[in-house]
């Protein structure tokens, strides 16, 4: 007899979503989750803006809290010029946060666990912040790679290091988010599969023993909730940091 096996990676398989229409234009199940995330963000804004009360209700407080959180992050990290990039940072932050949170629900796709998605986002941030750097400072932006206050004979060593560390930014930015989300979801799946294996192998005894992986999954759920928020925050604040470097060059 063929017992259950652990398929920890099947959850990341891309299929087409939205029925026949989606199949025709290759609209994937991850895009469904993205659309869901965007719709939730817009819906929360619409609900929060419904009353525009002087003393805000719950939904309005939530939206205002998010607004001020990201706005302060921009101003504190980039400076007053950061307000120009506030809508962009807010879009990225809310999109990743909702993507992470939606992915935590069973049967929902976690699109931030796809390296293609996170790498695209990270490359966009990288290219955009580099563009801002050249737009703000012209070719003087290249001085960013020449650390000030070091003896000139060290420069041939330091400049390549600076360039490599700059170029590795999109890699670390994308892999951090991708690896965190993937690892969490794989662990969940592995422990859940382990429960099925225990039950299939030891019957009633195994079913009772499954309490251990179940408890581990409950604990993991709390951890994953933290990771979902934290990684969205890390992605947003690093975006702000890169924009700070582009605007201020130090």
């Amino acid at each position: 007899m063929a017992g259950p096996t652990i398929d920890a990676l099947g959850q990341f398989t891309l299929t087409t979503g939205l029925g026949g229409l989606g199949r025709a234009v290759n609209f994937t199940n991850s895009n469904e989750a993205m659309l869901g995330a965007a719709v939730v963000v817009v819906l929360v804004f619409a609900l929060g803006l419904r009353s525009r009360a002087l003393v805000p209700g719950r939904t309005q407080s939530l939206v205002e809290l998010l607004y001020e959180f990201v706005r302060n992050m921009c101003v504190d990290t980039i400076g007053e010029e950061g307000l120009r990039f506030f809508p962009l940072v807010f879009t990225i932050f809310s999109f990743i946060l909702l993507g992470n949170l939606i992915g935590l629900f069973p049967y929902f796709f976690a699109f931030t666990s796809h390296i293609a998605v996170t790498l695209t986002l990270a490359l966009f941030v990288f290219v955009f912040s580099t563009g801002v750097g050249f737009y703000t400072h012209g070719f003087k932006f290249l001085k960013f790679f020449v650390p000030s206050g070091v003896p000139s004979w060290l420069l041939p060593l330091l400049v390549p290091i600076e360039i490599i560390s700059y170029l590795s930014r999109p890699v670390s930015l994308s892999v951090r988010l991708f690896a965190n989300m993937t690892a969490g979801h794989v662990m969940w799946e592995v422990f859940a599969g382990f429960m099925l294996l225990l039950t299939a192998s030891f019957g009633v005894l195994g079913a009772f023993a499954s309490v251990v992986p179940l408890g581990l999954n409950v604990a993991l759920a709390a951890l994953e909730l933290l990771v979902a928020g934290l990684q969205a925050y890390v992605f947003a604040i690093l975006t702000c940091l890169y924009l700070h470097d582009a605007v201020h060059m130090h």
Binding site: M34, V42, L49, L54, E64, P87, T91, A116
Partner: protein, 189 residues
């Protein structure tokens, strides 16, 4: 049994599980892997436009309006406090003024009363003094009268005593002399 031990191994080392199967994330032969990125770009652009043109400015307006209302209320409260402080200062000044006036009034009344009493006491004293002087004068007059009356009696008694003792009439002027001496001595004593 054997399957369980492999499962244990897999559970303890998720990296082993990753190595075993191919990751769908790395399957770039699947056109969907890159197609999802295109749709993500579309969704993100729409989300960005909605948030930057509508959502965020509207929330900003709500927050700005609230900050304005709070600032206005604070300014009004501050003005009211200044006004109240002024009224309190004015009240205190009025009270101090009234107290000073009352104290002056009391002091004046006390001084008046004192002066009045002193005048009355002086008048009474002078009246008493006059009465005293008058009484003394009367006493002196009475004494002088008494002394004057005692002299002829004493002279008569002395001449009669001398007559009975000696049988001779004393000399009138000598007797008067001795009487005066005796009276003066009695007076001095």
């Amino acid at each position: 049994m054997r399957r369980v031990s492999t499962a244990l191994l897999l559970a303890l080392a998720p990296s082993a599980a990753l190595a075993e199967g191919t990751m769908p994330q790395m399957d770039f032969a699947n056109p969907l892997t890159l197609d999802q990125v295109g749709w993500m770009a579309v969704i993100l652009v729409v989300l960005y436009l909605l948030l930057s043109r509508w959502g965020l400015p509207e929330i900003g307006k709500v927050l700005e309006h609230r900050a304005g209302v709070i600032a206005k209320d604070l300014a009004a409260a501050r003005a009211a406090k200044v006004e109240a402080d002024q009224a309190v200062a004015q009240l205190n000044a009025t009270i101090a003024q009234a107290r000073a006036a009352a104290q002056a009034e009391v002091a004046k009344a006390v001084a008046d009363a004192k002066a009045d009493a002193a005048a009355k006491a002086a008048a009474l004293a002078s009246q008493l003094e006059a009465k005293l002087a008058e009484s003394e004068a009367r006493i002196d007059a009475a004494r002088a009268a008494a002394l004057a009356a005692i002299k002829p009696v004493a002279a008569e008694a002395a001449s009669s005593i001398l007559l009975k003792l000696t049988g001779s009439q004393p000399a009138e002027d000598k007797l008067a002399q001795r009487l005066d001496d005796a009276l003066a001595a009695r007076k001095a004593a």
